[in-house]
Symmetry: C2
Subunit: 389 residues, 2 copies
């Protein structure tokens, strides 16, 4: 793989809090649970950190304004340059992107990136309201649109145009639960059968309960470093070689096509070009499966299959380990959970684990190239990262 930029950025430490309903803890403690292992993993480099980026999507969930400051202090980083990054459900990946930019710009040489969110400490109704308020509060939210309904529109359009089936949606859920059961950090660590997934309660036609990701608390952290420091701090740095990003129209009513998310395609093209690879070169991927249809649409945007063939890809089992392109073998948002600010950083953690060969029973054999894909809202944000070992 060629990298047109001269100096590489390595990921040298990873940490991951247990995702779940963490009523035992607070956002600062969750962040700590992820950040300290990440610093230890990176050769106990706390004193070498010269910038911190915190990803938290919504201060309202934890009731703490400007929560980056609380987290930064609690993990022992008071004094260091720090800001918070937010990009809705893609907050964590935006934070990793900002960390990469700080290093490449030489404003920093070793950066701690923390993503965290506590979502279960408000009522379920309040959590749903806060998420829905990330939709347009002038023109969509007041009319009752919520995220399940946005993605239900996409599922309906995809089924209509391409013949994607209800069963194929459930197959995504079955796969992600299978791998979630093997991931000790996952919120739900149990398998579901296709029958269970098919028969669960309807949330928003055609999406049922098992098509929807979880409302979780959680945190994840990574330590990133410039090439010189990366080689010093780790024997197994994973290089973040290429980054793509794009945004999309605010209102779903402005979109020309509901069967795809344009920002995903644009961000993927940028990343592949920067990495100088094709989709076929990717050995393992984590994609944004906030709803099962989102994973199918992501397969297509990322070029793992052609548009309309996503349903077939899961039906053929091609996104399982051993298939053409294993996807979300950490359980995905669906089973691992989706604490908004943590998700993107957790994706990076999973790819690093896979490229290091440390994923245990979920290991993709001989993984050399990894990809993470993280969407905010319905594609108002998208970030694609490509990693190599």
């Amino acid at each position: 793989m060629n990298n047109s930029l001269s100096e590489k950025v390595g990921i040298v430490g990873i940490g991951h809090a247990k995702f779940g309903k963490r009523s035992d803890t607070t956002i600062r403690e969750l962040a700590h649970e992820a950040a300290i292992p990440a610093l230890e993993d990176a050769g106990n480099c706390a004193d070498k950190i010269d910038a911190v980026v915190v990803g938290v999507a919504g201060d309202e969930f934890a009731g703490q304004g400007s929560s980056g400051a609380v987290i930064n202090d609690y993990v022992g980083m008071a004094g260091k340059p720090m800001f918070r990054v937010e990009a809705a459900c893609a907050t964590g990946s935006a934070a990793v992107r900002a960390g990469w930019a700080l290093i490449k710009s030489k404003l920093a040489s070793v950066v701690l990136v923390i993503g965290a969110e506590t979502m279960t400490q408000v009522s379920s109704a309040r959590a749903q309201e806060l998420m829905a308020r990330a939709g347009d509060t002038r023109w969509e939210y007041p009319f009752g649109v919520t995220f399940p309904s946005y993605y239900a529109l996409m599922a309906t359009a995809h089924m209509h145009r391409y013949g994607t089936t209800r069963e194929q949606l459930s197959m995504v859920s079955v796969k992600n639960h299978k791998y979630g059961a093997l991931n000790p950090y996952a919120h739900l660590q149990r398998e579901v059968t296709l029958e269970e997934a098919m028969k669960s309660v309807m949330i928003c036609q055609p999406l049922n309960l098992y098509d929807c990701c979880l409302i979780s608390d959680g945190a994840a952290a990574v330590v990133m470093a410039n090439e010189e420091n990366a080689r010093k701090l780790s024997d197994t740095p994973v290089w973040l070689n290429a980054l793509g990003a794009a945004s999309g129209e605010m209102m779903i009513s402005e979109r020309h096509d509901l069967t795809s998310i344009a920002a995903s395609r644009i961000a993927a093209e940028q990343a592949y070009k920067m990495a100088n690879i094709t989709p076929a070169d990717v050995d393992v991927a984590v994609v944004h499966d906030c709803f099962t249809i989102a994973e199918i649409i992501a397969y297509e945007a990322l070029g793992f299959c052609t548009p309309g063939e996503g349903g077939k890809l899961i039906q053929e089992g091609q996104t399982y380990i051993g298939g053409k392109i294993p996807v979300n073998v950490d359980g995905g948002l669906k089973a691992k959970g989706h604490p908004l600010g943590a998700t993107g950083v957790s994706m990076t953690v999973e790819i690093v684990r896979q490229l290091r060969g440390e994923a245990g029973s979920r290991q993709v054999g001989d993984a050399e190239v990894g990809l993470s894909h993280n969407i905010g809202e319905t594609g108002q944000y998208c970030f694609v990262h490509i990693y190599t070992r």
Copy 2:
């Protein structure tokens, strides 16, 4: 001035919405009011923008979750890579820092940075609660600490140790109102007499009403570009040559000294070192005067005088135009207003105006080197930028 980094980052476009109680508008419209003039000022370069950074401090003020997406779409930037940056009251400067990093990292070549906040569309009590919640909600907020009381502690300590007087605090207010009266974008465009400022209602001993900045709506925007594009897009680029940043302990009870803010000193030292200049080289500065005492403490942190001499500096008139170092000649947070996410970007706009020689009746003669200083909370964040023409 020497810059150790090879390629410069220029500011090539500025735009500023009218700060004030803007009940006529929404956050997206305020952002538009700033962003479109900035794009026009930068040679109508909307099509050249390849990244957007949005600074909004608190989604709760506008009731719009993930407000970057709404703003990005409304100013016509859907499609472009975008994320939001937040650093409490220093959000705008953190956004400028992120924009600089995106350019230097070569992830982008021309970046639109927008800072915006609507604070008057919730009740005054709610606005105060939201701001107070940026303090530690576990250990300080529950006991009734608000930002006037944090800064009142600093004022009391400064008066006790250095003999700073009530009158000197009011002199800061008189100066900033004098210049706010000359700034068409300022929230309060009227002068106050020293007597008025001294006699206003007590808010939190020793800080009275005229020691406190305003609760305002507003937005500001800048277009930043790499050197090649900066020279193409503008005949008068202003170079952002040096950036310093630091954070501080979360709780004021953890601070060793209440007469200064350590993060300010650290960030200033970094910036001066990177710019290879001394405080005496600065021709014009904007500093974080959320309370009058904060401006006095900033004089000292930035090296415009020695610690303890800040009160004397304003008393001698040295921070007026014509003095040793003109400070906040745009009215400062005190008279111009402090829409949280907008403030840091507005500071950059003011320095660009001054270095271009476009500040009209507020112009500092022959200004070549400018500095902006922006604090989040009570120093949990600080950003110092140094600019040259």
